[in-house]
């Protein structure tokens, strides 16, 4: 039942209403609203109960194993969330004077330094509000770099076919044409195809490493050399940084610019879709182009760098300074873990992924790249099951929900048929991984003995499988009062 269907005209949560002596205003009539917006008229208890009940229809990290590949659904420390709600942080207006902002700015500055260290880069701007905005910023910086050198013929960006959808979309938003580079049978970029694709029109390439195929791009140094020789720059999509955190620095791989998804690697909560954080890190040659604002420190005092000090900046990406609360949380997470803890992230994320892969392969599942070591995630393909048992990735995913597991990412990357991209993360125990593996084995058994159970899954949730075609054909995007 929708909250609107619980609404009764004249009912109110009046302790939330401002007390006014009168309602006179000094605004001429022509500016005023005459109709009542469709907001619910309900009591405070009704609101609390309605949304508490709705929350219970969600799967989440706090309640389920959530191996959604590429999304790094690790534990989000509660203490960090609580401390971000300290009065002093909540009350701070983004346009406060610097003298009233030193506490926040100290955290932001130190996070910039930590990110520089883990990435091996020379400068960081925290303002991008998610990975995709970081990509936009990075590609825009590459464009600004070429233009600053009068190198204006470069109008093409290279993107591997395995890349996340945001990569080509971000390159296009920066005014580039996108050229897809194929992947070889071993999961590495097809270097010959890359060699053939680069030229005087190439502005750069966007790469994820480990790639979205769950394997480390072994020829990265060769790729970097090819790109740099052709005058193009390399963008690192940091979505998979969890796999190499503290082990390998993207700067050392030859990347010129990258983003970090704070909501993945730095454990900030995903919030049912967001917010995230997508700080960008750059090497020497892109420093002048970083988006504003940035925190600087002189003699223990923090200040904002803006367009005034950095005239070549690509500009601003948000009204203020990005998702400040997420920046605070990421900072706190990094402090809790420290250098030793940060190092262990990639180690145990990789251990968990390889263990789960080993167990699933032993049970008869097909790895998409059987000759390769898994990174922090891996892909299994159900193309044989689809052919022989008429069971697809979708069916297995939906059946997993019945067993109280969130499903892995399905049908991405697009080049692996019937795929499940599985990322357990380092914060899950062996016991949870075993339970998941056992369930997958059970589902495979069901696929053979009772496939309908899978085709019609889920059976145990608040709704059965939903009709997406109807949703798109007969658009119903807002409630209308009868």
């Amino acid at each position: 039942m929708l909250i609107f269907e619980k609404s009764e005209s004249g009912r109110n949560a009046t302790s939330q209403h401002v007390r006014l002596a009168h309602t006179k205003i000094e605004i001429p009539e022509k500016f005023l609203r005459t109709d009542k917006p469709l907001l619910p008229e309900v009591s405070e208890l009704q609101v609390v109960r309605h949304y508490t009940r709705l929350s219970r229809k969600n799967y989440s990290i706090d309640t389920q194993f959530y191996p959604l590949g590429s999304c790094t659904m690790k534990y989000n420390p509660r203490g960090v969330h609580r401390l971000a709600f300290l009065e002093g942080f909540l009350q701070r207006h983004p346009l406060s004077l610097d003298i009233n902002s030193q506490g926040y700015m100290a955290c932001a500055y130190e996070l910039q330094e930590i990110l520089k260290t883990v990435t091996g880069m020379k400068g960081v701007s925290l303002t991008p509000m998610a990975g995709a905005q970081g990509e936009f910023a990075g590609v825009a910086m590459i464009r600004a770099y070429h233009e600053s050198r009068g190198d204006t013929a470069r109008n093409e960006f290279l993107v591997p076919d395995a890349a996340h959808g945001t990569n080509p979309a971000s390159a296009v938003q920066c005014g580039y044409k996108v050229k897809e580079i194929p992947t070889g049978p071993d999961g590495n970029v097809d270097v010959a195809a890359l060699q053939a694709a680069v030229g005087p029109h190439t502005a750069g390439i966007m790469l994820t490493n480990p790639s979205t195929l769950g394997v480390f791009e072994q020829k990265i140094q060769e790729i970097a050399a090819i790109m740099h020789k052709a005058g193009g720059l390399l963008y690192y999509d940091g979505a998979n940084l969890n796999a190499i955190l503290g082990k390998v620095q993207p700067g050392a791989m030859g990347f010129d610019v990258m983003h970090i998804n704070l909501h993945k690697t730095f454990a900030t909560p995903h919030g049912g879709g967001g917010p995230g954080g997508g700080p960008v890190a750059v090497n020497e040659r892109l420093l002048p182009f970083l988006p504003m604002p940035i925190v600087t420190k002189t003699n223990d005092t923090y200040a904002w760098l803006t367009e005034k000090e950095c005239p070549q900046t690509i500009g601003r990406l948000s009204a203020f300074m990005g998702n400040a609360g997420i920046i605070l949380r990421a900072y706190m997470y990094a402090r809790l873990l420290g250098k030793e803890g940060l190092l262990r992230v990639a180690e145990f994320a990789t251990l968990n992924a390889n263990y789960l892969l080993a167990r699933l392969r032993a049970a008869g599942f097909t790895a998409a790249y059987p000759t390769r070591r898994a990174s922090h995630e891996f892909i299994i393909t159900l193309k044989d099951e689809a052919k022989e048992l008429h069971i697809g990735a979708l069916d297995v995913a939906k059946r997993l929900l019945d067993y109280n597991f969130h499903a892995p990412t399905m049908y991405f990357p697009l080049l692996v048929p019937e795929c499940l991209l599985i990322e357990p993360t380092e914060t899950e125990s062996k016991q949870v991984l075993d339970a998941f593996a056992d369930t997958m084995i059970k589902i495979l058994e069901e696929a053979k003995t009772n496939p309908d159970l899978l085709h019609t899954a889920p059976h145990t949730l608040s709704v059965r499988r939903l009709d997406e075609v109807k949703a798109a054909r007969e658009l119903d995007l807002v409630f209308k009062k009868a």
């Binding site: 109110n12 949560a13 401002v18 001429p28 500016f31 005023l32 109709d35 469709l38 907001l39 619910p40 405070e44 609101v47 949304y51 229809k57 989440s60 309640t63 534990y75 203490g79 300290l86 207006h93 983004p94 902002s101 926040y104 930590i114 509000m129 990975g131 905005q133 936009f136 996340h164 080509p168 920066c174 990265i220 140094q221 390998v248 879709g273 967001g274 917010p275 990406l317 300074m321 990005g322 998702n323 400040a324 706190m332 873990l337 803890g341 262990r344 251990l351 939906k398 929900l401 991405f412 914060t427 889920p458 709704v463 059965r464 939903l466 009709d467 949703a471 798109a472 995007l477 807002v478």
Partner: protein
């Protein structure tokens, strides 16, 4: 090991199942030359207790101020239930509802949000959020360029009364694609976008942006602006304060045909100031251009048994399906903030929201009256206002603000840096959270500060003369 549950025995069993001797071997596909990261510069880990101590100290340094700054971020009362519920793990630690059946909580909430926001804007549909108000305006511009079938010019009119940072963000984002942003001046007396100047702009126009209230807190003549734009076959993009829309005419009702797109900053609806984010951008439009709307959209449908349920819909617009041809590159959005806002709007209801808006306006009127007795300060701009006004001082405002801060008062936002014609100007905001006592304090301290600054200025001038 913080947050890593493995016992020594677990680790050994797992390694043996994989068939490697140690964890380091799992990285054997990475070229040796790359495996030399050095993160020694990062401090060692600390406990939650130690972190609490550190963060409390830092938060204290920034807190305890009475805030009269607005300029795009506004302090409002937030009911306790809003963040109690939004912080439930089931909302906080879920992600994008790709698995609809296991995400009905978030999906239904988003459908309810879309209903509330579209209705508040007087428009047909809403998306499920963008990053913030400024980037939402940039997306609205890109959307208008795609949606306006009559216009080929990609020329978009941007009034100077739009928030200066919003203008910068739009320039950064749409500037990458050949879209021309044309500034429209404002009338120095009223503080409104100049209709006269607008009428002088000729040729094909793709869209006109209309802020309400504008950056100065002044109300624009939205009906006349909307009708003028539509007469030029331009689309109208409203960028508005959503709380104000409980009191002011909604964009969908502007002029004869209504604005085509409305966007803005959702922060006033239940999101704390919190250093500027996370907030969320909202974006609503008329039904006929819904396929150009960027971002997630939730639709109502049925399950196999005919029971009502909710899913992400029109996904063919999005980057994960359409890739290079998507309407936008956005993926992760600001879902949790929309969760808070939906709970906020439900708790306040139509009447509560309107009363908050009226209280903000009344407080600002009262504050203006009180300021009349302060010498050396005058309110400029004659136009009607909502909850912000521009004050002009007889001296630079930076010093004034720094002196006021010593009394724990954040006196407003200095805006002359963006408008050379507005010398020594301060934008001040009074919301429903301020009492008459707060305002009297401000006025009293302001008088002290001005007196002090005038006397030191005189002294400095005197010293200067003596030195000569």
């Amino acid at each position: 090991m913080p947050f890593i549950p493995h016992t020594q025995q677990d680790t050994e069993e797992m390694l043996s199942t994989i068939g490697v001797a140690n964890i380091e071997n799992l990285f054997d596909e990475i070229p040796d030359t790359l495996r030399h990261a050095n993160i020694e510069a990062i401090p060692s880990g600390i406990t939650e207790m130690e972190l609490t101590r550190l963060m409390k100290e830092r938060a204290k340094r920034d807190g305890g101020m009475t805030c009269f700054i607005g300029a795009g971020a506004y302090e409002h009362h937030i009911p306790a239930a809003v963040w109690e519920i939004a912080s439930r793990g089931e909302f906080l630690t879920a992600y994008t509802p790709y698995q609809a059946e296991a995400s009905q909580g978030t999906l239904q909430l988003l459908y309810e949000y879309q209903t509330m926001m579209a209705s508040l804007m007087g428009l047909d549909v809403s998306n499920a959020s963008l990053y913030d108000g400024a980037s939402a305006l940039a997306e609205a511009v890109l959307m208008a360029v795609r949606a306006n079938k009559f216009s080929k010019s990609q020329r978009v009119l941007m009034p100077r009364t739009v928030h200066p940072f919003y203008r910068e963000v739009v320039a950064t984002i749409v500037g990458q694609q050949n879209i021309e942003l044309i500034e429209v001046p404002f009338d120095l007396a009223s503080g409104c976008t100049s209709m006269e100047a607008l009428k002088k702009i000729s040729g094909d126009i793709t869209a006109l942006i209309i802020p309400q209230p504008n950056f100065f807190g002044v109300l624009e003549d939205v009906d006349a602006l909307t009708d003028w734009a539509h007469a030029q076959k331009a689309l109208v993009i409203a960028v508005v304060n959503p709380l104000a829309m409980s009191l002011l005419k909604a964009p969908g009702h502007w002029g004869s045909n209504g604005a085509d797109i409305a966007c803005g900053e959702g922060q006033p609806l239940g999101v704390p100031l919190a250093s500027g984010g996370p907030y969320y951008g909202f974006l609503c439009c008329k039904q006929d251009i819904v396929r150009q709307l960027p971002g997630r959209i939730v639709g109502r449908t049925v399950d196999q048994e005919g029971k009502e349920g909710f899913v992400l819909t029109l996904q063919a617009r999005e980057q994960h399906i359409r890739r290079a041809k998507a309407t936008s590159n956005i993926c992760t959005n600001q879902g949790l903030l929309v969760t808070a806002s939906t709970i906020y709007m439900s708790l306040l209801g139509p009447e509560g929201l309107r009363l908050s808006a009226i209280a903000c306006h009344q407080n600002t009127c009262l504050f203006r009256e009180k300021l009349k007795k302060v010498e050396g300060v005058k309110k400029i701009f004659s136009g009607a206002f909502f909850h912000e006004i521009v004050l002009q001082f007889s001296q630079p405002v930076d010093n004034v603000l720094e002196e006021l801060a010593k009394f724990n008062i954040q006196g407003g936002y200095a805006i002359s840096q963006f408008y050379s014609e507005l010398e020594n100007c301060l934008l001040v905001c009074v919301t429903e959270t301020k009492t008459e006592f707060d305002m009297d304090e401000y006025v009293a301290k302001l008088q002290i500060v001005l007196r002090h600054l005038n006397s030191t200025e005189k002294k400095a001038a005197l010293n200067c003369e003596e030195g000569n």
